[in-house]
Amino acid sequence: MISRLKATVTDPHLLRALTGIFVFVGLWYLFTAVLNLPRFKLIPNPIAVLKDWFSFTPASGRSIFTKVYYLDIAYSVGRTLAAFTLATVLGVTLGLFMGWNRTFYDFAFPVVEILRPMPPLSWIPLAILILPGVEIAVVYVTFIAAFFATVLNTLLGVFSIDKNYFLAARCLGSKPKDVFVNVIVPGSLPFIFTGLQIGMGISWMSLVAGEIIAGKQGLGYAIYEGYFLYQFEHVISYMFTLGILGYMSSAGIRAVGRRLMAWEARRRGA
């Protein structure tokens, strides 16, 4: 027990990680609290941010002890989850079918390739005009980029499958639907999960932008509000909140991926 603890504490990877964080925070402190660089005048130092973030009576009215903090998180997480789930279900389905059926691919691919590079934010005007309510428009903007990332990666996943697996499956007496279930879906899973991770990242980015432009609540909206109200402590604490949430969602996807792809994990000797 103790030796394990010792091994963890002296693990070089952990030590380097902590050093990296220490240097980062140190530089931040140096620029904002010690050197008082001209462009950093208004930027709060790390201690001020932490104080505000963990205060019972924050100047901005937003800390881990306030209800509004969790309300902001709930709004943002809710929107991201809704958008991401939709992007996964629709994106994986579309990608698999495009990879499975050449005719369908011919129809769908050009449209996907034109829509895919459009920046999510460029959808905002149309989203607001077409969709009922600003809320759904924000979710749509969060959804759209993740959706295309998922479609493309799923499609690449299907294309990455060794041709011999298809031939073997047919030799063994598979009907097309058996090939779909036993070859196409599991064979493309590694790429699908790469796509989901990318999609999750893009979701968070687009979400904050969407909230800033069209939102009423949520972390992105609150960050922008903090900017106007000169509450820079909470701008920064919310940025870190977003960072933590983004990290947690990626880790969650990785964990699910590992469970679904035991064969992949064991190949890598994990």
Binding site: L167, A168, R170, C171, L172, G173, S174, V183, W263, R267
Partner: protein, 279 residues
């Protein structure tokens, strides 16, 4: 193995098969007027220079590809011609060059895949059969492992069992033991020999390894360089089951000389043709 009953099925007639590949107007005659037969239950080994169209034949019999002209019959039924490409089916199983066990399925899931997907057996029943087959060849305790956790020699054996559980008329193996070291190859040969002796069925075995060809085959079909035809058929009249001491026998050495000469001639031609193409 599975039943141990020889069913006199799996006779293959290859008649004047020609295959022309024509990708973007480059006219490549891979095979021209190639004819030979494989009797039911015969272990035929096909050898010849690289790119001589051995795999072309395999693909046509398996139903993966068409031929340009000629006919291929299986038990009297036309399965491949200019206008006909049969669908891949369990009666004609292929074991692939680089292995095609599904990496996302365990050994057990791989072996039972055929009978279950064809709804020939209930899953429980298939598991019993598969376990018995694995046990019989000494591969116990790997049922729940994924293919990539196993050595390539074990992977190949599992893949062959996955084919055999379907009781195919013909098993086609495209250089299945390529890349294995000499020791592993010996193990594979004994494995295949046991399986074949227990329940003979038509084998279509492609290889570059002449010792392997003579050791395993009833019949060694030597192909010419492109366009491929049959150069020579050598009947191997060694007793069954084959044993490794036979590799040193007089008969064996004579056979090997015969095969070697034929192959060497073709290899030389192929090499010179290659030189010409380069020039």
């Amino acid at each position: 193995m599975a039943t141990g009953v020889q069913n006199n099925q799996g006779e293959i007639l290859i008649k004047n098969v020609t295959k022309i590949y024509d990708p973007e107007g480059v006219h490549v005659v891979a095979m021209k007027d190639c004819s030979f037969d494989i009797a039911a239950g015969e272990f035929a080994v096909i050898v010849g220079p690289s790119g001589c169209g051995k795999t072309t034949l395999l693909n046509a019999i398996a139903g993966f590809d068409t031929i340009t002209s000629g006919e291929i019959y299986l038990d009297g039924e036309l399965i491949s011609s200019r206008d006909k490409q049969i669908r891949p089916d369990v009666e004609r199983m292929v074991v692939f060059q680089n292995g095609a066990l599904f990496p996302w399925k365990t050994v057990m899931e791989n072996v039972i895949y055929g009978p279950v997907v064809q709804k020939r057996m209930k899953k429980r029943e298939a598991v019993d059969v598969a376990r018995r087959m694995l046990h019989q060849v000494g591969l116990n305790g790997i049922e729940d492992k994924y293919p990539e956790e196993l050595s390539s020699g074990v992977q190949r054996r599992v893949e062959i069992l996955r084919a055999l559980i379907n009781k195919p008329k013909v098993v086609m193996l495209d250089e299945p033991f390529r890349g294995l070291d000499a020791v592993a190859k010996t193990v594979m040969h004994e494995f295949l020999m046991d399986i074949f002796c227990e329940s003979p069925r038509t084998m279509f075995f492609i290889t570059h390894d002449l010792d392997e060809a003579i050791f395993l085959g009833n019949k060694v079909v030597i192909m010419t360089t492109r366009p491929a035809q049959v150069k020579k058929i050598v009947h191997v009249n060694l007793a069954w089951p084959r044993e490794h001491h036979m590799l040193a026998s007089e008969t064996y050495l004579d056979l090997k000389r015969e095969v070697l000469e034929a192959v060497h001639e073709e290899a030389k031609k192929a090499f010179e043709a290659g030189e010409r193409e380069m020039a």
